[in-house]
């Protein structure tokens, strides 16, 4: 031990470590690996049990059986017959896609004005965007609800969609973070060629920021797809406009749908999100990372 302390550069070489230290290292590696394996099992188990239950008969789902016997894949068809799941899915899709389109049209220009262009008051406006992003939704929900009630839009999907057409703070923030990483030489070159700001935005920034635009679109789409509070307050009384999240939450409480069918619907609800994630994994991970970097 004394020699290793006297000659640190050699001690840093793993091969020359004395025996007990090497063994401790091994034990540590084994402990880490086992912990990881246990955690992986815990993280995947819920998916496995949801899948297994969705393939059981109702009788079996209410027993302590863990393995379906016999397999009943027809549950996935039955759930469409018993509840208007297709309708819920359509509503969710309408909400998410219209909101995302509107967000892009309104938020990209705002993000551009808040990052590429330099003007007095820009930082103040940025702070306002961040404040709107950070404050809990419940703080503003009542007057907004009253407003939509006066416009006779409560009971439709519009109160969920329209606000996104007027800019989404989180998307603006994320796009701005990305625009700031684009070297200004590109914009300058385009300006020298005689482009106005709108042309610079559409021909330079839109092209270079494709990954960021994909990321914010996916994030907002999924946020809407998963949203529960909004659909609950605006469409709670009109089942024709229920989204998947709202419809699914009423399965057991109101309609007493069986557990096996509920789990089948739960899986159907998760499936598109997970499928898109695997198709666009890189965009996702980079987007999440971007959101945390200079928070």
């Amino acid at each position: 031990m004394a020699t290793t302390a006297a000659a640190p550069p050699i001690a840093a070489e793993p091969r020359s470590r004395p025996r007990p230290q090497r063994r401790r290292r091994w034990l540590l590696v084994i402990a880490e690996r086992s912990l990881l394996i246990v955690l992986v099992i815990c993280f995947l188990a819920p998916f496995a049990f949801i899948l297994l239950t969705s393939l059981m008969s109702n009788h079996q789902a209410l027993s302590t059986d863990l393995w379906p016997h016999p397999f009943e894949p027809q549950n996935f068809v039955k759930v469409f017959e018993e509840e208007p799941v297709a309708r819920y899915a359509l509503n969710s899709f309408l909400y998410a896609s219209l909101a995302t389109l509107g967000m892009l049209v309104s938020s990209i220009p705002a993000a551009y004005a808040l990052s590429v262009l330099k003007w007095r008051g820009r930082n103040v406006v940025m702070i306002l965007v961040l404040t709107a992003m950070m404050l809990p939704e419940q703080v503003t929900v009542i007057p907004v609800y009253v407003l939509f009630a006066k416009l006779h839009l409560v009971g439709t999907l519009w109160p969920l969609i329209l606000p996104n057409w007027l800019g989404d703070a989180f998307s603006i923030f994320l796009l701005r973070q990305f625009f700031l990483t684009i070297p200004s030489e590109y914009a300058d070159a385009a300006r020298i060629d005689g482009c106005g700001e709108l042309r610079v935005l559409t021909s330079v920034y839109l092209r270079l920021a494709k990954p960021a635009i994909a990321a914010v679109s996916l994030f907002l789409f999924f946020a809407c797809w998963n949203d529960f509070f909004g659909p609950l307050i605006y469409t709670g009384e009109t089942p024709a406009h229920w989204t998947l999240s709202l419809g699914l939450s009423q399965f057991r409480t109101v309609h007493h749908v069986d557990w096996n069918l509920t789990m089948a619907a739960t899986l159907l609800f998760m499936a598109p999100v997970i499928a898109v994630f695997f198709a666009a994994q890189k965009v996702f991970i980079e987007g999440v990372t971007l959101s945390g970097v200079k928070g």
């Binding site: 009542i142 106005g196 999924f222 999440v288």
Partner: protein
């Protein structure tokens, strides 16, 4: 052509281009500015006004001065248990999430192989829609025949009541929160992998063990990301609604008829502040009182954020900054 005329021309041209530039900025920002006014600035002011009124949506708001606040602070029997439950989340759920995500990120950063696959596995639950994840958990932790208690029973352990027990409902919701911690994990993992290796190596050469390297090198480097996660975590905890609302509704399921649904089942253990606010505003249509509640929430959110940010100066280090 005299010089002053040229100068004036140039001045006019410049002011014209400046004007055009301002107009461009205004056009680019217009949608956001309208949205900010209609969906943020106006509602804040209107909430403050409604909080001094009695308002049930049917008749117009009727001024009652401070009576909503008096009821909120002095008489309402339910609001303080809602406040306590929400503070419980901030005290236990947020630290649990941050520490778990940090531990997991460190563990993943040390894995030699398959970091990408592991990252995907741990991120997947965060993708599951909240309602779907919650329903899954209600089934998994169902005390009578859920898989969790079945497995515990096979091991000879009598499982607790989980979401159906007053003392276990909130901890079960924490388990759900830990399962969906993926977003924070990815941010932490990116930060941990970003810690400059030369710093870690020179610390090792100086004789620092793994723990000291973590405390003196890794932690300071990732502290901005940690701060971000804590602030977001606290704000999310303040608005914690969907998981508790769905879990309480489904867990009591067949036991009660639709009309006899208990708020915050079981025994008010999951009556969080936003759930009570929702109940006041959208079940009982006490818009005035609910507005007073939302103003209190705004003040608490601002106060907590300030407190954290102010405290942060002591432990957060930004790159390139000397202490």
């Amino acid at each position: 052509m005299s010089t002053p005329a040229v100068a004036a021309d140039r001045l006019r041209a410049r002011s014209r281009s400046r004007w055009r530039r301002r107009r461009t900025i205004a056009v680019l920002l217009a949608p956001w500015a309208i949205g900010f006014g209609v969906f943020f600035a106006y509602p804040l002011i209107a909430s403050a006004y409604y909080s001094f009124t009695h308002y049930d949506l049917l008749s117009s708001p009727h001024w009652i001065g401070l009576r909503n606040y008096e009821y909120l602070f002095n008489s309402d029997p339910q609001v303080w248990s809602a406040v306590r439950n929400t503070l419980w989340l901030i005290a236990f759920m947020v630290p649990a999430q941050v520490l778990f995500a940090l531990g997991l990120a460190l563990l993943l950063s040390r894995a030699r192989h398959g970091v990408g696959a592991l990252r995907t596995i741990f991120y997947l639950p965060a993708l599951a829609p909240i309602v779907a994840a919650t329903l899954g958990f209600v089934y998994l932790f169902n005390p009578a025949n859920g898989p969790v208690n079945t497995i515990l029973g096979a091991l000879g352990i009598e499982g607790p009541l989980w979401l159906n027990g007053a003392s276990t409902a909130k901890p079960t919701l924490v388990l759900l929160a830990l399962w969906s911690v993926g977003t924070t994990l990815i941010i932490f993992l990116a930060a941990v992998l970003d810690v400059p290796t030369h710093l870690l190596e020179s610390a090792e050469l100086d004789g620092a063990g793994p723990w000291r390297r973590f405390i003196h090198v890794t932690l300071p480097t990732i502290s901005p990301v940690l701060l971000f996660a804590i602030v977001i975590g606290v704000i999310d905890a303040l608005q914690y609604f969907t998981q508790a609302y769905v879990a309480a509704g489904v867990a009591q399921g067949g036991q009660a008829g639709e009309s006899a649904k208990q708020l915050g089942y079981p025994e008010g253990a999951t009556l969080f502040y936003p759930i009570y606010l929702y109940e006041q505003a959208f079940s009982r249509f006490n818009m005035g009182y609910a507005s007073a509640m939302s103003i209190l929430m705004l003040i608490v959110a601002l106060a907590l954020t300030m407190l954290i940010l102010r405290n942060a100066r002591r432990w957060v280090h930004y790159q390139g900054e000397t202490r």
